[in-house]
């Protein structure tokens, strides 16, 4: 069971030791690369093990740090959803680490890059695994601070430093908001553990749970009544927390940092930021809306409904806004960044719907988007690396010289706009089904924005493939980068072809378990009574 607790600890341990190691090996780039690959590789193995465990087990897995049961200490509570996203995260981080080496061949500071990179991975995994709302705050901060620093990696370029500054400032506001929300949650419910919070919220309806462990102190903890008016407190806390998550996921009107921050970073980092880091906001939102506040009744339900409506509306605006902005971009990476805003809009729309179908669609789309968006940034990165410019015009005609990269770029764009048989098509289909159940207009938003996005992508693709080269440059396809991209492209295709199976085998059980707050609470309680008896 240690693998649950160790998964985020492995990368952070590697990050702790990297500055020292790099001094010892005198900054040898190859050794640093090997070190980083070991770190991310071990994490991948660990999260794969975690994935297997989570899918083999009926209940969510619980790991008690320091042997303290919830709510006394921090627990990691891993359900299928967390394990699935964690696996995708670790796999992408490993692949991108391979890619990074060639991409950064002209830059100094590889050891700093990888220290931050491993820290970022640790933060992302911690966000997914934790079962404690305050620990979630800490892990979001780990993720964010590494992301801020990585955005500023090209420290001699004014735009990236300014973008990093903006990102940091907005991010800090967001996380502080979330911290206040946590203070209110603790004030009202007397706990910051997700399962325990869910229990307190469902207390009237949760008589099914045997709140008795035979141990007096724990019983007192579990039975303690909320001290404040929980409706008001939940409303304020959820509003603040949602604001924070909207910032993290770059939903309009909190999106403005993203189109500057994501392009300014090195392309592999752009891939991680767009593919994985923004998911933090979505995941946290899912945790709150679907696990903690699922199936609430009475006035609480009213609060949650209002919140869902706001989330849906903002999501729809983001989707349209992102799509329109895509069409007028000259900078390839900026275009892809706006596409991220669009997809985050889809995800929030689906999350806001609140049905099991919506959650399934959201989870599936989250994974597909992570893979496809990472692929798109990486494929574009190969061209940018070759030319040294992000302007679309300068990339003209390169396509024919780099067949693998172009092939992958094609798959990525086709996939992202939703052309069958690639992966995003199926998640968009699921999204469409979920949205049309709620409201026809929402489904229309999905279709229209996809169509606009298709137009924007095709323009880029046309230029890269058929455009006249500005000047002749000798380009050779960098193999290590191209192979990573090819692997991801094939993954896109494979997920697309196997979509029904994947939906059935992995996504549906994950969504089902996430919504089932009773199991979520039970896992904690059972472990508590087992540990104490």
């Amino acid at each position: 069971m240690d693998v649950i607790g160790l998964t985020p600890i492995i990368p952070i341990l590697f990050a702790f030791a990297l500055p020292l190691t790099s001094i010892l090996i005198k900054g040898n780039r190859k050794l640093i690369q090997a070190y980083a690959l070991t770190g991310t590789g071990l994490t991948l193995v660990s999260s794969f093990k975690l994935f297997q465990l989570a899918y083999a087990s009926e209940n969510p897995l619980v790991y008690t740090f320091g042997k303290w049961i919830a709510p006394i200490g921090i627990v990691y509570e891993v359900d299928k959803l967390s394990a699935l996203i964690a696996l995708i995260t670790a796999a992408l981080m490993f692949l991108i680490a391979i890619y990074s080496y060639r991409y950064l061949e002209h830059d100094e500071g590889l050891e700093w890059y990888y220290t931050l990179y491993l820290g970022l991975e640790s933060g992302l995994l911690g966000v997914l695994l934790t079962g404690d709302a305050f620990n979630l705050f800490v892990m979001i901060e780990v993720t964010s601070i590494a992301a801020y620093a990585l955005v500023m990696f090209y420290r001699d370029r004014g735009d990236s430093v300014t973008a990093g500054f903006k990102y940091g400032l907005i991010g800090a506001i967001g996380t502080t908001m979330y911290f206040i929300a946590l203070g209110i949650l603790y004030g009202a419910f007397g706990t910051v553990n997700f399962a325990h919070l869910a229990m307190k919220i469902h207390l009237p309806a949760a008589s099914f749970i045997k709140v008795s462990s035979g141990y007096v102190t724990l019983d007192v903890l579990l039975k303690a009544e909320p001290t404040w008016n929980i409706i008001l407190a939940s409303g304020v806390a959820l509003a603040l927390a949602t604001w924070a998550f909207l910032i993290k996921a770059a939903i309009v009107p909190n999106h403005f940092w993203l189109p500057e921050a994501h392009p300014a970073a090195p392309s592999p980092i752009s891939a991680i930021l767009s593919g994985l880091v923004v998911n933090v906001g979505v995941y946290a939102m899912i945790r709150f809306l679907y696990t903690v506040y699922s199936d609430v009744s009475g006035e609480l339900a009213h609060v949650v409904n209002v919140l869902s409506a706001v989330v849906i509306a903002l999501g729809a605006v983001s989707a349209l806004f992102g799509a329109f902005m895509m069409t007028i971009q000259k900078d390839v990476k900026r275009l892809i960044a706006y596409s991220t805003i669009m997809h985050m809009g889809y995800l929030f729309m689906a999350v806001g719907v609140g049905s099991s179908l919506g959650l399934q669609a959201a989870v599936f789309h989250l994974i597909n988007h992570a893979v496809a968006k990472a692929l798109l940034f990486l494929a574009a990165g190969i061209f940018i690396h070759a030319v040294g410019s992000r302007n679309v015009e300068n990339l003209a005609g390169l396509g024919r010289k780099m067949p693998i990269a172009t092939f992958s770029l094609a798959i990525a764009t086709l996939s992202l706009v939703g052309v069958p048989p690639f992966n995003v098509f199926f998640s968009k289909l699921a999204l469409f089904n979920a949205l049309i159940e709620e409201n026809f207009g929402l489904a229309l938003v999905l279709v229209i924005s996809s169509a606009i996005a298709l137009f924007a992508y095709m323009k880029v693709f046309y230029i890269i493939w058929f455009g006249k080269p500005r000047k002749e440059i000798e380009v050779k396809e960098p193999m290590s980068m191209s192979l990573v991209v090819l692997v991801l492209a094939l993954t896109c295709l494979a997920i697309g072809l196997l979509a029904p199976v994947i939906l059935d085998k992995f996504i549906a059980p994950a969504a089902e378990q996430t919504v089932n707050y009773q199991v979520y609470i039970k896992a904690i309680l059972e472990l508590a009574s087992k540990t104490l008896s």
């Binding site: 952070i12 500055p19 020292l20 008690t64 042997k67 931050l116 620093a149 420290r155 102190t217």
Partner: protein, 247 residues
Amino acid sequence: MKKLIPITIIILIIFGLAYVMSGKIEPQENVRALGKFYLENSYFGDYSAKSPEVVTAILWDYRGVDTLFETSVFFLAIIGSLTLFRLNKKQEKEAKERIEKVEELTLVIKTVTKVIVAMILAVSASIALHGHLTPGGGFQGGSALAVAPLLIIAAYSKYALEKQGLDKTRALILRSIGLIGIALIALLPLTKGGFIMQNQPIFPWLGGSLIFYNFFEYLAVGAGFTAVFLLLAIPEKVFKKILGVGE
């Protein structure tokens, strides 16, 4: 005068709202169940961290993972700053050379600084090593420790500090050692069949593992701040030259 009006309005609103609110809220007189658990169990009780300082017990034992990752946030912030201000080997050498005569402060300040530095080291160590008994702890002690190099940089110069062997690289090594120490203490219980960051009964004496955490945190934070101060003390001219930005 222009600022006075909004301030008056704000104050009036606050007092008005407070008047309305004060009838509705009841002042909080009890601790919550969880807080009470910590108060009762931190030293006595079956579920104890063996520390009379309840906040430190929560920080490094009950909710130890938070603190572990909080430390890594600080670590990543420092690494991020180093990334922003990174220098290659040649540039680092350049930064270590004095480009012009540095004005040092007067003799009195320099002499007093020497004595005070010794006292700061003792005081900060006391804060860190008594973190499990009295308020304070690794972070607070480390912050106090970092005042010593700061004073030296102010009274002498950063070059004086580097000449005595405390440069950015060394500070970073110290920081790494501190962090690895923390991580190892956290992982040690695994070898005895315990859980990550477990304290009792694997470290059975007073304060248990808290002392070690505090000590390593003290080292790490002190060294981390020192690295930041050293970076900030590099003259602006050197950086502008490295970045290729004109005056």
